[in-house]
Amino acid sequence: MSDIAIRIENLSKMYQIVARTREETLRDQLATWTKSLFVRNGLRRSASARIIWALQDVSLEVKQGEVIGIIGRNGAGKSTLLKILSRITGPDKGRAEIRGRVGSLLEVGTGFHFELSGRENIYLNGAVLGMKKKEIDRKFDEIVAFADIEKFIDTPVKHYSSGMYVRLAFAVAAHLETEILLADEVLSVGDVEFQKKCLGKMGDIAKQGRTVLFVSHNMGTVLTLCPRAILLRFGQLIHDGPSESTIKDYLSNLSATSADAFGDNPERAGNGAVQLVSARVFNEVGQASSHLIAGRSAAFEFRYKNFSSERRGINFMFTIFNNLGIAVSTFDLSHSRKLVDANGQGGVITCHIPDLPLPIGEYRAGALLTVNSEVADWIPNILVFQVDNSNFFSSGRNPPVQLSTCLIRHEWQQGDELEVTPELQATRTQ
């Protein structure tokens, strides 16, 4: 008996973007199509088609009980890999071998029907995920309790709030007991309280000795849950190793490509009503620079263009992430009771930080423009900068990066053992 749970050899998957030409008549289409019914893969036309390898020669071995994080940009092939391993779609080349019952959670609530009650959906969803009725019977109360919806269990799901809906959906998924679990970002559901609960549950699953492949964009989660992580880029496996080193590789690559954050950026999202056109960082003497000093002032400048007639309700925010992908802080214009003054075709927004409280290290910023709460432009990798030196504490010294995500102004107080302050006295007598 081998202790390898998943063995992947040269797995490849291609997609063909077929450029349809105008000359193509219905008759031609029918001909090719009729052919496709009888010839395997007959629908593929080599001419005028662009091939995209969603996954290219990926090989990987996963031992039983390993918890592996899969990271990479959007479109890097993470989901494609999970889909092939889940047997949702077939590979074009290569093979994979999986030992054990596989449960795949590519989303929560797959197969939920709005007209059915919570109870009925638990059974339906459970069956869809591959649970046996007996298994669901046994875990039913636990699932309901976890989702915290006892009172509404016989109400049709369409009357649920979105929070209740995802709680129930996650609860069913979390009780799937397969030896191998393929999960895609299922943690990003519900309110903060429930997210903690989900994270705890995922932690439990990881500790039960089950094999887990976990796709996530949240580096913090990957770091906590997965000892090992792999990095995919353009369908290829770039890095395989301890999570920390994989994440660093991923983030350093993000910085390398940040120059074209505004161009062909697959990470960018939004309806484009208002768009960011440039982003710069200024150091304490007002020079544009990507090298900053902690404790000195810094300014972040963003330029945008307004392509819509919208003048009001435009908000802007940006978030600074450290090199582990953890959000250090978010700067939201509306939190200062302001909105973007979009009087003309565009403008500049600058955010001044009087004394930068960041430990030495590499940072990345993501920026978001919304119009009436709808995402107009979101660039998660708009800027990269470094904090090289620190003048935050007058000593010029800093705690190591592993032990701090931000620097906090503070004061010390000390006293002689004999001179007990009244406050200290109060705590001692308790």
């Binding site: 047997r87 949702i88 093979r95 071998e97 054990g100 019952r101 797959t110 007209e115 009925e120 869809v128």
Partner: protein, 282 residues
């Protein structure tokens, strides 16, 4: 080593994923998924009459209304022959399997598209989708069948031993609709035009089947071509089992079985061949 891994370690199933997918049918795997089949059929039935006023009564109203209209127009006005049976009973016996078939094909054609959220997110043998689409309307059929039994008492039609042939005819009807769905649902996944042609196709198909008229009305020289339509065999089988019409001649019944068999086999091959692309084209 953990409890879970130990429990399953030795006899853990091994899944092989390869570029070439098998085109046969894995009956063992289908059997393992029997509970899913049950729940998907159950969902179809449960959801179908949700938020309607008369609910499941629709299963009875529809064939009864159709029978009334046909009896007035074809039986009373057009005076079509009915092989010596009351026209209402004669046509109702055919309407039941016909409505079953048209519902199965009508809904089944869109079944892959309708369940695309499942197909894109979870693995299960894809054949389950058209299979459930073919099974679910059987329930409506049974409600309509109860009405038929009442009608037979009303019209004083005696039930003969031939009724034991009914399950066989039912299976033929199920196989016929399943095989048609096997062909149409992947085509519809690729080109949604298919679904739009279904109402028209079914209308033509109904008049090409002996629903409102007896088989005897078809000129003998056209009989063979006519009986290539498997619904001819199905409907004549129903009339034979329930009304005691003369045993359908071998030249009516044999083509139906052969055509359904051929459609089923080729349908499975076609469906399995299209299967790996479903998640990408849906």
């Amino acid at each position: 080593m953990s409890e879970t891994a130990e429990r399953h370690g030795a006899d853990a199933p091994v899944i092989y994923i390869e570029a070439l997918n098998p085109t046969g049918v894995d009956f063992k795997e289908l059997w393992q998924h029997r509970e899913l089949i049950y729940y998907l059929v159950w969902r179809e039935i449960k959801v179908r009459y949700k938020q309607t006023i008369i609910g499941a009564a629709w299963a009875i109203v529809q064939p009864l209304m159709t029978m009334t209209i046909f009896t007035i127009i074809f039986g009373y006005f057009a005076k079509l022959p009915s092989d010596g049976h009351p026209y209402a009973l004669f046509t109702y016996v055919a309407i039941l399997p016909w409505i079953y078939f048209s519902q199965a094909v009508g809904r089944g054609t869109n079944s892959l598209v309708g369940d695309s959220n499942l197909i894109k997110k979870v693995y299960f043998p894809r054949l389950i989708v058209p299979l459930c689409a073919a099974i679910a309307p059987m329930i409506d059929f049974f409600f309509g069948f109860l009405v038929l039994l009442g009608m037979m008492v009303w019209f004083d039609a005696s039930i003969t031993v031939r009724i034991i042939g009914l399950p066989f005819v039912l299976i033929l009807a199920l196989a016929a609709s399943f095989s048609v769905i096997l062909w149409l649902s992947p085509m519809n996944a690729r080109y949604r035009d298919i679904n739009l042609t279904i109402p028209f196709l079914l209308q033509v198909w109904m008049y090409a089947s002996p629903v409102v008229y007896p088989l005897s009305l078809v000129p003998p020289q056209w009989r063979f071509l006519y009986s290539l339509n498997p619904m001819v065999g199905v409907i004549e089988g129903f009339r034979w089992a329930l009304l005691g019409a003369s045993m359908p001649a071998l030249d009516t019944f044999a083509p139906a079985i052969l055509v359904v068999g051929a459609l089923l086999w080729s349908g499975v091959v076609f469906f399995r061949r299209m299967e790996p692309k479903f998640a990408d084209i849906l």
